[in-house]
Symmetry: D3
Subunit: 247 residues, 6 copies
């Protein structure tokens, strides 16, 4: 059950009985000619809400951080970003304020691949050095076999949009999107990606086929992600979060 | 006319012909027992959208930064904050990414008094040292005579909520809100506020009478703020933003 | 009674019985063709000494920080500045060292408008996170009705110089100063100042009429400021500075 | 062909004709009771030298950075670490000094999984904002099918040590190492690793079977890694490293 | 000839024809029971003024930075300090603002041993990376054979005070000062000082005999230091400050 | 007796009974046409090992930090450096991790003059603010009368190389090295070094005569340095490292 920290009053939070919080983080960045810049933020929010609703207990849900680490897409107009360092500081501070109120078991619900390394780092820092336990959850890593289809502005993200924000998918540009898409992410030699910017390997920003996922698939993805998040919340709620003893 | 950077695609931004952008910033913090924690973020968004719609030309609107500088309210559960330094970095980075795409005349639309000093500083830094011109606009400073009624979770903020998000105002707690409110902000001696935290002078977080503003007043506030922002956008669009010559 | 930390020995400080300190901060920046660059630092020092003398008890007075936040005047030769971040660090460190010796109730006596936002921020940070209580005191905000006349290098500052450092006022340039002055500070649209640098609105750096304040007025200003600071010291000395309990 | 920057003189570097450099980075951290703390640094050095020798051209090899990001192993005595931020700064500065001399195509040869996210970030930052092109190369990601056997102090690392530094493998503790080992890395729920420290899931620090790799396998690993690095150097030498145009 | 940046107006600086500036930096720290906390700042100011007066040309003199790096004396009440990092930033920013106006050959006139390493570092950084040339000048290193007598609150510093600020020397505590003094600075083994704080080796903060220098010696010191600074100003004025070519 | 933290296992460190550690730090920088870039790192390592072996007790020896503060040599190809700030952070973090395991009496064994000021600062910071006691030891300051012969790539450094790494001394370039050498370090006026880069005063990077020290002298230097370090370790082991009481 979600306690939305935008809508709730401070007295509602005072009266709630939980130490669990979700912090949705996304990105505002190109997702091809057919999908909105806000895709990753919208998806993080969608999954956070669905997971919180599924969970048998109260979970505070913080407002979404909509701009993340996306400089790799800077060649595409409208892409917004902050530096990795700024992003980590912002997330760490927000989690610190959640923990100040006893909401000290925090799952950062993430909708953007570019945020993953920074979230791994900052949740470890928080857990080791601050007064909170935090872990990241990236929704498209927790949707079973669908994961291998991820791409960028591709089958999964477009499908989930069709289920949740169909008006934001430009169906009349899908063909164009497909044609300018690259097949895979990056430009690899010896397991090293030589490309630091997505414009080095994709013409229109798309990776994968945005036509390969309809609204039904989108519903399934939401379901899978929400269930995975629910299981994670249960595990986080029960976990012994004290740090292990020195050997 | 607003170009919403959450909903638009990168090709939409590429095809738009503007150098103007709005960046709404708010806060997620106590607003008494009757008003939502998200009040300041919601209001910043409301005003930014209304101002952009009124403006005769295209204005990009970035996603709202919902957590700002609010440690002064930390004693009230649910209040979120980042440090002033983190806030400035985040705003500066986002504006920098807007400017990267030529959206280099930016008005930061602000809904929270606690953000004002940091926004003055960071917009000056951006204008002097980065490739953009930026100014802050705090809506409740631009609503004519209403301004003196501001308070916190008081007449103005509650009125605007009644006009835009009536379901988020707990009307049944207005009496309680009024009774625990303080009359003014701070604890002053010799023009110095001795109180660094709001809990030093308000019992329930409210300053002013939340009953003193109905939805009609809220509509008027939105109208006034939107008009003021429209005028500001015109001035920013036309301004010679080159720095003056050394004397 | 002032304990001057430049003149005192460490044994004098050891033997003093007080937890009160003043830290004067000013600026070295253009004040028109008639007034010295050091005006703000000199005034902060004047007021700090006068206030300490008036106070019934011992008050340590730290050496003046003469360079503050003044990049807005950079187009005028001789103006010195540090970044806001550097300024906050410097003030915070100095206050930390005062507090190390038990001088942990500190009033930062300020002579420069450009320092105000940073001082509000850093004194709050110190009070919440360090082992001291600190507040800022800006002298020209505490001189009753005179305040509205402030300007820059205008009536008040010139008057106070005439009372305390008459040799530093170039009376033969007053006419020139008046003629190149602007009437108000900034360039405003919708309550937003579009000008980040003073050179955008004043030809010679002056705001207001530097002829409108003689030495008598200067003496009155010193008296008013000293009394206000005395009252503030009393309040700070008696204040319960423990942070309020969480709600 | 390697130009060792520890052994060479400055005149040797001046006379060399190359823009390629390798920067080996490792870690000094627990590798079970049988393998030395320096395993990751030794391996990075081994692979860098072997790759440089294989390459048909001159490659400068910087001295190894032996302490990396390893706080996750802190419960095991002797583990050394720096913060991720310090690590990134150190690597960025060193690469900057290489580039100052025209060695501006840099491969960071990495021997430690915990360094991977930070190296991805810092090489992107360098490439986008500094005067160099940099990519990371993690040797155990480039050894074909062996990769899935990685573990920690497990088959691969122990095998490579047996080939290169047999005297540092405590063969008499292999049985003990095997018995206290965990099977996999981490403690996973919904694709999220709940464990931030290795001591949460391994008793003696080992993951995988350290007996499952003899010196022959070690030689094969060195060969595979050297070949992969050689191919990468060729690709880096020929790559157009200018950043792509804005769309 | 000195152009005092506290007393001058901006028009005076505009009309001056020089690129030379002095920035006096001192410390506010214990100097025994007989000498004032401000000794180092006063001496830096004395020497800067005397050197500027001697120099045949105009030299701008910035206001004194009175608090430096002195945490080593923290056990003695009244000692003030900032962190080395804060000190470097403050000096760098001030020098940057001097250089903005073309005062880009700066001698930092120093009165405190504890500032020496940081000044060496920051002047090198400024010279290499900013738009200015800067060097430090520590007065007691430039007084010929007297130098070996330096101590702390000892012969030299007390003598110079007797010449310049006799009212600040507590002559009636000289005997006490002498008795509690240590003979040398530090606690040395193998050329390493094991003591990080002065309280580890001096009882009352004094090193050396404060009785061993009368006002005449003080005058001689001022003369020697002023002459040395004059020579340095000449050398700085004439120096080719372009950085040498790469080899 | 040395416990080498590269070769040891974590269980070896667990079983050792000591709180003493050495951290060798050097530089990779020009040492003339005849001596290797790695001279300073090699010498720090040599001395650390010899000192640890001499000491009657166990001393952990961390891996060498090979790149230090050497921007002053940047005009000479192959010279590597990090900023002073990065260097201090790296050293502080590594010492912090040593102390985490109880190795909290640390001697930083230094082979490079350019590191000296930063090491003085960071060891003081560590000792005052972290959970460790640290001091720097610079080998060439502890070799009795030899010290005055130091130079750069000169008699001492070349002699020690001849004793420890004769294959790295290009004997056939000694004549050339001598001819392009300068006699002293720097370009001095009034005790101030006007040169921030070594290229301002030495043609080939050498200071002093590299022919003036044979392998025997090198052995003597190693002996002297090792003995000095042994004495220092004894003093550090026995020292009361609690900070002195406030006066």
């Amino acid at each position: 059950m979600q306690l939305d920290l935008t809508d709730a009053t401070w007295t509602d939070v005072r009266d709630a009985d939980t130490d669990l919080a979700l912090l949705p983080v996304g990105s505002t960045e190109q997702h091809g000619p057919h999908a909105p810049l806000g895709t990753d933020a919208l998806h993080a929010e969608t999954v956070a809400e669905a997971g919180a609703e599924r969970y048998d207990g109260t979970v505070a849900v913080a407002p979404t951080i909509s701009v993340g680490i996306a400089e790799e897409h800077r060649q595409f107009p409208g892409t917004l970003w902050v530096s990795p360092d700024t992003f980590r500081r912002y997330v760490r501070d927000v989690v610190g304020s959640l923990a100040y109120h006893g909401l000290d078991r925090v799952v950062v619900v993430n909708g953007h691949g570019g945020n993953v390394p920074a979230l791994g780092e900052v949740t470890a820092t928080i857990t080791r050095h601050d007064d909170a336990y935090a872990v990241p959850f990236t929704w498209f890593d927790a949707v079973d076999d669908h994961g291998s289809d991820m791409g960028h502005g591709g089958p999964l993200e477009t499908a989930l949009l069709r289920a949740t924000h169909p008006e934001l998918v430009r169906e009349d540009r899908i063909e164009e999107a497909r044609e300018g898409a690259s097949e895979g992410w990056g430009d690899w030699v010896s397991s090293t990606n030589l490309a630091h910017d997505s414009a080095e390997f994709t013409e229109n920003g798309v990776v994968g086929d945005p036509g390969a996922g309809d609204a039904d698939r989108g519903e399934e993805l939401r379901e899978l992600a929400a269930n995975a998040l629910d299981r994670l919340l249960q595990a986080v709620a029960e976990r012994d979060v004290s740090r292990p003893a020195d050997r």
